[in-house]
């Protein structure tokens, strides 16, 4: 009886705070359930790390960012009220932590790709196939994409997120996500075609 009273109270509080109903898993983490938090770590560590690595391009820094993100999750989970999904909330923290790192490293965060940019040298479909032996090359090319465009591309390719989820994480419209991913692809094709000779 007490259990149900408590459960409904939490639901009412969630609604009055303007948030959504928090699922059982999130409630467990909020209550300090160690196993639930471990599961969250297992579910998200690869996702956070690959995003951080894609954005900062360095293993050590990506590991530091990943640690930092989990500390922020741990400390901030009590304030998570379900306004967005847990996944969106976590990716937003990861994106912000990576951006903070890039700003501290004095990277240019405002670099733009022109509105009507199109790669002049079109790669053949075969040339766009870069297998595992060419990983470092493709990473080197990805690194050169301006951050603003690279982030939605990585969220799409590495995390397999939908445009609507990416839009929520980055706080931009779905149309902007669609446009930025397209421009990031065009830019990447241009960089690959310019560096084909070093392949």
């Amino acid at each position: 009886m007490l259990y149900y009273c408590r459960k409904y109270c939490i639901i009412i509080i969630a609604f009055t705070k303007g948030g959504c109903i928090l699922d059982e898993f999130v409630l467990k983490i909020k209550k300090g359930d160690k196993h639930a938090f471990e599961k969250l770590c297992n579910d998200y560590q690869q996702k956070i790390y690959s995003l951080a690595f894609g954005l900062c391009g360095n293993r050590e820094d990506a590991l530091d960012i990943t640690q930092e993100v989990f500390v922020k999750i741990y400390r901030g989970i009590s304030n998570f009220n379900g306004d967005s999904s847990l996944s969106t909330w976590i990716y937003r923290i990861a994106k912000n932590a990576s951006y903070d790192f890039l700003r501290k490293s004095k990277r240019n965060m405002e670099e733009e790709i022109p509105e009507n940019f199109h790669s002049d040298e079109v790669l053949t479909p075969e040339e766009a196939v870069l297998n595992s032996e060419k990983i470092e090359f493709i990473r080197h090319c990805i690194e050169q994409i301006p951050v603003k465009y690279k982030t939605p591309l990585l969220l799409r390719e590495y995390q397999n997120l939908q445009y609507s989820e990416i839009a929520e994480i980055l706080d931009i419209s779905e149309g902007t996500v669609k446009s930025r991913i397209f421009r990031a692809r065009e830019y990447l094709l241009k960089i690959i075609s310019e560096n084909r000779d070093i392949l």
Partner: protein, 269 residues
């Protein structure tokens, strides 16, 4: 139709992010445009290449979380009243200990009591604290010395212990003599000492010299008690300097010594 304008739709198409109507429209175009068909294939292959480049997290990666303070008192969860009571009790003990500790740490030999006070206090001779008159402490000192070989803390007993060895004049101090000779209570500087001469100041200097020994040996032996090694060395140097001045019996060191003692207490962690 401009194929460049179609590229953005092809990009969204491979992500599965277009409506059914758009999809039909694009497929119609793709059937008639080889360049765009190749473009779609290039985008698909590029997407595969990016996915291959995803860096895997090291297998030995472990999330390290900071130890939160609230975990330490988690045993009191639901019993915050008990925790508060214990905290209050500890605070009280520390506070009371601080006050009495300061009294105890106050060197008895410098608490030479004026006559009026001494007479009142004489009735409480048994009290082992600073309310005991100097002669009581001196009288007890020999017996205490036998029982206590060394004291880790600076206590009245420890101070008293060193008195009999120094001067027979101190052993025979009477209440009347006290008022005539040294009156160093609460750091008050007796005229004779201030003047830097006379038999009374000589004994006061000897007392201070001994007290400095006591501080160096019992109060400052462990450098780890101090927040800063430099401060420790500086204070020790200063103590030795005062001790040297006391031995030379030339200048007023009482006030300087009192200030230094306060400085030492502040410098401790």
């Amino acid at each position: 139709m401009d194929c460049n304008n179609f590229k953005i739709k092809i990009s969204a198409l491979i992500d599965g992010e277009i409506s059914e109507n758009e999809k039909r429209e694009i497929e119609e175009h793709l059937n008639s445009c080889e360049q765009c068909r190749k473009m779609r294939e290039t985008y698909e292959n590029l997407s595969g290449s990016i996915k291959v480049s995803e860096e895997k997290i090291p297998e030995d990666f472990k999330v390290k979380l900071p130890i939160e303070k609230r975990k330490v008192i988690s045993i009191f969860r639901g019993h915050e009243g008990v925790a508060s009571a214990i905290a209050a009790a500890i605070a009280l003990i520390i506070f009371a200990g601080g006050i009495s500790g300061d009294k105890y740490k106050a060197p008895v030999v410098l608490e030479t009591t004026p006559v009026a006070d001494a007479r009142i206090l004489k009735n409480d001779e048994q009290l082992p604290d600073v309310t005991a008159t100097p002669e009581t402490v001196v009288a007890d000192a020999t017996a205490q010395k036998r029982n206590e070989k060394s004291l880790p803390e600076f206590t009245p007993e420890a101070t008293a212990k060193i008195q009999p060895d120094e001067s027979t004049e101190e052993k025979t101090l009477s209440v009347a003599e006290e008022s005539d000779n040294t009156a160093l209570r609460d750091g008050a500087v007796p005229e004779k000492v201030s003047a830097g001469g006379g038999g009374g100041s000589s004994s006061a200097m000897a007392i201070i010299t001994n007290e400095i020994d006591e501080i160096i040996n019992f109060q400052m032996p462990d450098i780890s008690e101090f927040a800063d090694e430099g401060v420790y060395n500086y204070l020790k140097e200063k103590l030795l300097d005062i001790q040297r001045k006391a031995k030379e019996n030339s200048v007023d060191i009482v006030t300087e010594f009192e200030e230094l003692k306060a400085e030492i207490n502040n410098a401790k962690k």
